[in-house]
């Protein structure tokens, strides 16, 4: 691919450039916010900022999880299905009278197991990540529909459903959850050696193996993290909409991947960060929020989103090439 050529032709962004790049994407977000503030009075109201933070939160967490996988040159198409399935599992457990803490724990554990299954398929069965996660996507939706019999399970636990609406220190709890995920994710990816192994495996898995890196364990780690993030988002979704429904979160995998790539992750692996996908997710959320506030026709909204994705990623490419 020509893209690959371009990416491997010269030195990739160095440390300083990566921070600069993060800043520039952040700058874009700020510019969007300022423009929307000028265009509509409603934008800068505390209420709307809260909404925006809530709306971007779930995609942001999914995108961070997805980024781990993409850095290893893999992909996880199942995350949307895992979100929907988790919402069903937690609703089902709560309806069966399982205590809240146990239901949450069990759902997260199920996320871990799905990740283990993916990595097993990739490492032991030699399946392409695309295929094994596509298969899980298909099957999980089926299992979820079977559990709910094609309908929804209401969640009556008040403590659980009010959580997503709550604020803490004036910031929506959903956004706090982004911080709760992003901070350890940052430490893991950028400061610990496991994060470095993710990059090494994505860059040249043979070299990593020869250096004594446990490549298989690294792949397990990446997929477990992705699925667990997705299960966590499933909990947040269940809390937010108060139901378990297996067909929810359809297409969120593509949104998560898009957020990650907008945030500078390379689908060829070995390039990515934690702050990038977060910014990517909130840029997408801002586009939607802004379009709603400006009462843009829903169809135009789609067209504009597509064009903006192209423009943003294009300028990102330009900047990176220029930075060399």
């Amino acid at each position: 691919m020509s893209v690959e050529t371009i990416e491997s032709a010269g030195p990739a962004p160095r440390k300083g450039v990566s921070i600069l790049f993060g800043l520039t994407l952040f700058g874009l977000l700020i510019v969007l916010w300022l423009l929307l503030g000028l265009a509509t009075n409603a934008f800068w109201t505390p209420n709307n900022i809260s909404n925006l933070l809530r709306q971007g939160a779930m995609t942001a967490i999914l995108a961070v999880g997805q980024t781990f996988v993409i850095i290893t040159a893999g992909i996880d198409l199942s995350v949307g299905a895992v979100v929907g399935f988790s919402s069903v599992v937690v609703a089902w457990l709560l309806a069966a009278g399982v205590p809240l803490w146990l239901a949450l724990l069990a759902t997260l554990l199920m996320g871990v197991l799905i990740g283990v299954f993916h990595a097993f398929g990739i490492v032991r069965m030699g399946l392409p990540p695309f295929i094994i996660t596509l298969a899980t996507l298909t099957s999980l939706r089926g299992i979820g529909l079977l559990i709910t019999n094609g309908s929804t399970i209401s969640i009556t636990n008040e403590a659980f459903t009010t959580f997503s609406r709550a604020d803490f220190l004036g910031i929506p709890s959903l956004f706090w959850m982004v911080i709760v995920v992003a901070v350890p994710a940052y430490v893991f990816l950028h400061l610990s050696r496991f994060g470095r192994y993710l990059f090494a495996v994505g860059s040249n898995s043979e070299a990593a193996r020869l250096s004594g890196v446990n490549v298989n364990r690294t792949i397990y780690l990446a997929y477990i993290l992705s699925s667990t993030c997705a299960a966590f988002v499933g909990l947040l979704l269940a809390s937010r909409i108060g139901i378990g429904n297996a067909t929810q979160a359809e297409g969120w995998e593509l949104q998560a991947i898009a957020s990650s790539v907008i945030g500078g992750t390379s689908l060829f692996g070995a390039v990515g960060s934690v702050h990038g996908p977060l910014l990517g997710a909130f840029i997408l959320a801002t586009i939607n929020n802004g379009a709603n506030l400006l009462n843009v026709n829903s169809f135009w909204q789609r067209i504009i989103t597509g064009l903006l994705i192209i423009v943003i990623v294009y300028f990102d490419q330009l900047r990176r090439r220029g930075a060399r």
């Binding site: 929804t152 609406r165 937010r240 909409i241 108060g242 359809e250 709603n292």
Partner: protein, 297 residues
Amino acid sequence: QDVTIPIIVKDTTSFYWQIVLAGARAAGKDLGVNVPELGAQAESDINGQISILENAVAGAPAAVVIAPTEFKALGKPIDEAAKSVPIIGIDSAADSKAFSSFLTTDNVQGGRIAADGLAAAIKEATGKEEGEVAIITNLPGVGSLDQRREGFLDQIKTKYPGLKVVADKYADGQATTGLNIMTDLITANPNLVGVFASNLIMAQGVGQAIAENKLGDKIKVIGFDSDEKTVGFLKEGVLAGLVVQDPYRMGYDGVKTALAVSKGEKVEANVDTGANLVTKANMSEPKIDALLNPKVN
């Protein structure tokens, strides 16, 4: 059970169609008929439903009950199928004269009922049929949702000149998107007094937004179809009303009629199974209660 009468719904993954299937299942049990439950995986998947119809006909059943997912598109395939088996239509119409019998709710009428319900609720709250309203549609390109939207918009325009539609939004099939659109509408339109969420998933999402912002008194929401969650919202006053059809009866009577046709009996060509507005006031009436709590299993 030698007699097989498959029922083909629009979307097996939605609660509404599960009720239809439950009715059909019950009829199958009562009448001693084998009823395969078929359907596409999304209401917008026209090609999927055509394939399923083809497959069902290939199994040489006694008759087929189908809820056509799109008026024009299913016309020819149904004509074709009717050459070998009798076809009974339920829920929505199709561009075909080959139906042996037809049991429907008129979705355009459903939209009108929603408009009436919304106007009444607004009047009850503010004393006049005036203000800004919005409509949120679950997905574009879905026949029944289009018809509801059309009926609603037409009724507002012709009968309630005081109501102004300020937003006409489409979501992507996700409750969360409905929720997000609704919170943004609340921000962008502080004077909003009413919303029509034209299917179950949107009613769930929009209801959640109203509940989160505790605006049940100020913004009146009419939903379409019902489940435990939306009935709960209705009780709490989060939703002002729900337009409910009688899916259970459609499924049950569809199979029953199909059996009669296959035996050569004469049946009524058109049956309207009706749509009703449910509000907090009438929800405990026995007839409505039966609609709200169908025997799914």
